[in-house]
């Protein structure tokens, strides 16, 4: 392995890390602005024009706020919780193909940090660890509301992971690969998976909401019931990590939706433009971010429109509706593939 390769990976990884953080940071502002606009309000506009410094203000304030540790808390776990959540949220971005490759000086540089050949499995593995951060935090706070929040988060995660994986299996069957890069490559042009898997997309979308603990599945925090849920006892930057992780998760989930169902960095008529490979790659990456932005917006749109589920209804929806539907979807996909294969 030569030095250039390490340098390139290092730059790419830092760039993606930075972008994730930046996007998450500004998602917080976007969320507040979007909420305001949905509600006929203006939203933050005092900190800089359009409230552009609002996230900085929030971050700085949280940073300088008093560190607080409840008397009966488990000290180690209490700190571990938010750190784990934050770390895991950032890990997923490694396997997402942010764009095709750039050719510089004859060498090809892929815009994916790691093209793991079991990328999908990696994502799921990481995502399912994510809930530990919440669980540990909720447990360590030694607060009943936090505990209820943590328990809810854990059970919610388990129920929806299953349906989510089932839909992915259908996709995997179609692409015949577990690598995200391959999956994107197969959706070249307008050949997006969403056209073939509308039901799968719907299920995946719902599960993504549940995995991110976003409304209408925001039971673990659920302000009006559990005050703050798992982060009730957290203050200062530890709280900041939790809130931040939520937005990073949202960003990553949107990226996953775009990658799996909306062709990632592919866009229609990309072959008809007759542009150089590098330009196409850059446009592709931008398109990818537009797609992500739309889904981030969609996440917010849903939050400010719908009431939330009740705990048992959430379980019922997960196990009794989404899981059977996902299985049916999988079987149909299998049948269609089989029939096509034999024709």
């Amino acid at each position: 392995m030569d030095g250039t390769y390490i340098l390139y990976k290092f730059i790419l990884a830092s760039a993606i890390l930075l972008i994730s953080l930046l996007v998450a940071m500004y998602s917080t502002l976007l969320e507040r602005k979007v909420a305001a606009f949905f509600q006929d309000r203006l939203g933050p506009n005092r900190a800089g024009i359009f409230g552009i410094f609002q996230p900085l203000a929030d971050g700085l304030k949280l940073f300088f706020k008093e560190e607080f540790m409840p008397g009966d808390a488990d000290k180690f776990l209490y700190i571990l919780g938010p750190s784990l959540t934050m770390m895991i949220a950032l890990l997923t971005s490694a396997v997402i193909p942010w764009g095709n490759s750039l050719v510089i000086g004859g060498a090809e540089y892929s815009l994916q940090v790691a093209d793991v050949n079991v990328g999908v499995l990696y994502v799921f593995a990481i995502l399912s660890i994510g809930v530990y951060g919440i669980m540990i935090g909720g447990w360590a706070s030694n607060n009943k509301y936090a505990l209820i929040g943590a328990v809810r988060a854990a059970s919610q995660m388990i129920s929806y992971e299953l349906a989510m994986s089932m839909t992915i299996i259908a996709i995997v069957m179609m692409s015949g690969s577990l690598s995200l890069k391959d999956m994107v490559e197969q959706q070249h042009g307008m050949n997006w998976n969403v056209w073939y898997q509308p039901l799968g997309f719907l299920i995946f979308l719902v599960c993504a909401f549940a995995e991110c603990n976003r409304s209408p599945f925001d039971l673990p925090e659920c302000e009006t019931e559990l005050i703050g849920g798992y982060h009730t006892e957290y203050s200062s930057m530890k709280l900041g990590f939790y809130l931040f992780a939520e937005y990073i998760n949202m960003f990553i989930s949107s990226a996953m939706i775009a990658t799996l169902f909306f062709g990632g960095y592919n866009f229609p008529f990309m072959d008809d433009l007759h542009l150089s490979h590098n330009v196409i790659t850059i446009i592709g990456s931008l398109v990818f971010f537009v797609k992500i932005a739309f889904f981030v917006f969609f996440f917010m749109w849903v939050r400010w429109t719908l009431p939330r589920f009740r705990y048992d209804q959430l379980m019922r929806l997960g196990w009794k509706s989404l899981l059977p539907l996902a299985i049916v979807n999988m079987i149909i996909t299998g049948l269609v593939i089989m029939i096509k294969h034999h024709l």
Partner: protein
């Protein structure tokens, strides 16, 4: 029962060895909207038992009323059910009028109906939108609050204040409706249906919301009556008891309106009943506006209604009367009356005992939500924590009214 630590945190020793946990809901929980406490005994997320503590904003209204002159009591009733204070004000004024035997003119009655129905709208708007907030849909709340803001503007134009209005006087109103007021009301009534419709579309037939509310916190008509339910909560259980029709006051019998009822008294029923009552109120305001007779905006109540200012400035007798009224040295009949109006939450009663003095000898408020909130444990037993919160907000417990 044993107190550990701060007095408001209760731990029952007999629960130590059971697998139940207690959850302290309130007094500063976001869903209590106002202040009261529920100590829930929980089995997982299921509520086994609930124990209520109230009185966190007990302000001694009744004692205070014994030290305040009759005309000053509107400032107290304002702060009782502050979501619909004009109803309380007017209810109190009608109680005194009943004691004095004053019959108000149609114009005053209709003006009162307009104001009372507007405040009923504002009361129900806030309650129903808060059910939305508690179920996680915040946006509808902001939409209807813009309409509430318009009601505030109307109040402000009528009496000069937004929320605690001190509106109306014994024997009528302190000033007439100006054309501006009438215009504002017309405009408001014309615009409101659109917003209500939109609000209903957001929630009413949305399955998530229906699942959250149907068969949640239900109570049978029988139990509801036994618990002294009135208002939307009783009507949701299927009993069409409404003071406006049973004991028509203020010429309510001139108008035709229906009494919406529910079927089994659950949260969804309460939501629907309130929503329909808003529609009925819109109709009532419209009708009352159309038929508003001409005439004076106050009756001749020499004991309480201050003489015209120009007379006070120029005539000695008027000045003396003015002094007498303000000092409270007027002849008030001895006696006792009970008068009730249909408040935002139900039968709002005033039991007034007068000994002829400046102040009431005893004034007891029958506060609807104080009476029916005690059924809360029975209504939430066996349901989930989330249900308890929706039940609580759909009962529209106003702390000011609850604790007096």
């Amino acid at each position: 029962m044993e107190h550990l630590g701060k007095e408001h945190i209760l731990v029952r020793p007999e629960d130590y060895d059971k697998n139940f946990s207690t959850l302290n809901l309130g007094p500063t929980h976001p869903a209590t909207h106002g202040i009261f406490q529920n100590i829930l005994t929980m089995n997982g997320e299921t509520i086994v038992d609930a124990e209520q503590t109230i009185g966190y904003i007990h302000r001694a209204f009744e004692k205070l009323a014994e030290r305040r002159a009759f005309y000053q009591i509107t400032t107290l009733t304002d702060r009782m059910n502050y979501c619909s204070s004009p109803i309380n004000n007017i209810g109190w004024q009608m109680t005194v009028e009943k004691l004095l035997g004053v019959q108000t003119s149609k114009r005053i009655d209709y003006m009162r109906i307009i104001i009372m129905e507007l405040s009923r709208i504002s009361d129900h708007l806030i309650c129903n939108s808060v059910i939305g907030v508690d179920s996680g849909a915040l946006t509808g709340f902001v939409y209807v609050f813009q309409e509430r803001e318009k009601i505030y503007e109307i109040y402000e134009e009528i009496c000069g204040a937004r929320l605690t209005t001190n509106l109306g006087r014994i024997g009528g109103f302190e000033r007439d409706f100006t054309p501006l007021v009438l215009n504002k009301i017309r405009e408001f009534i014309a615009n409101l249906p659109k917003v209500i419709k939109q609000f209903e579309n957001l929630l009413l037939r949305n399955r998530i919301f229906m699942d959250r509310t149907i068969n949640v916190g239900g109570i049978s008509a029988e139990r509801a009556l036994n618990y002294g339910f009135t208002g939307p909560c009783l009507r949701a259980a299927g009993v069409d008891y409404d003071v406006r029709i049973m004991n028509p006051y203020s010429s309510y019998n001139d108008f035709d309106f229906t009494i919406p009822v529910g079927t089994n008294g659950d949260t969804y029923d309460r939501f629907c009943v309130r929503q329909e009552e808003i529609w009925q109120s819109i109709k009532l305001v419209k009708n009352a506006l159309e038929n508003l007779p001409e005439g004076s905006y106050h009756m001749d109540v020499p004991e309480f209604y201050l003489p015209d200012k120009q007379e006070v400035y120029s005539k000695m007798e008027s000045l003396i009367w003015h002094f007498k009224i303000v000092m409270g040295e007027v002849e008030v009949p001895v006696g006792e009356v009970y008068h009730s109006v249909e408040g935002g939450n139900g039968e709002l009663g005033f039991y007034l005992v007068s000994d002829g003095g400046r102040t009431p000898y005893r004034l007891h408020f029958r506060r609807p939500c104080f009476v029916y909130y005690q059924a809360f444990p029975e209504m939430v037993k066996g349901s989930f924590l989330s249900d308890a919160i929706l039940t609580m907000s759909s009962m529209n417990v106003i702390a000011g009214e609850l604790d007096a």
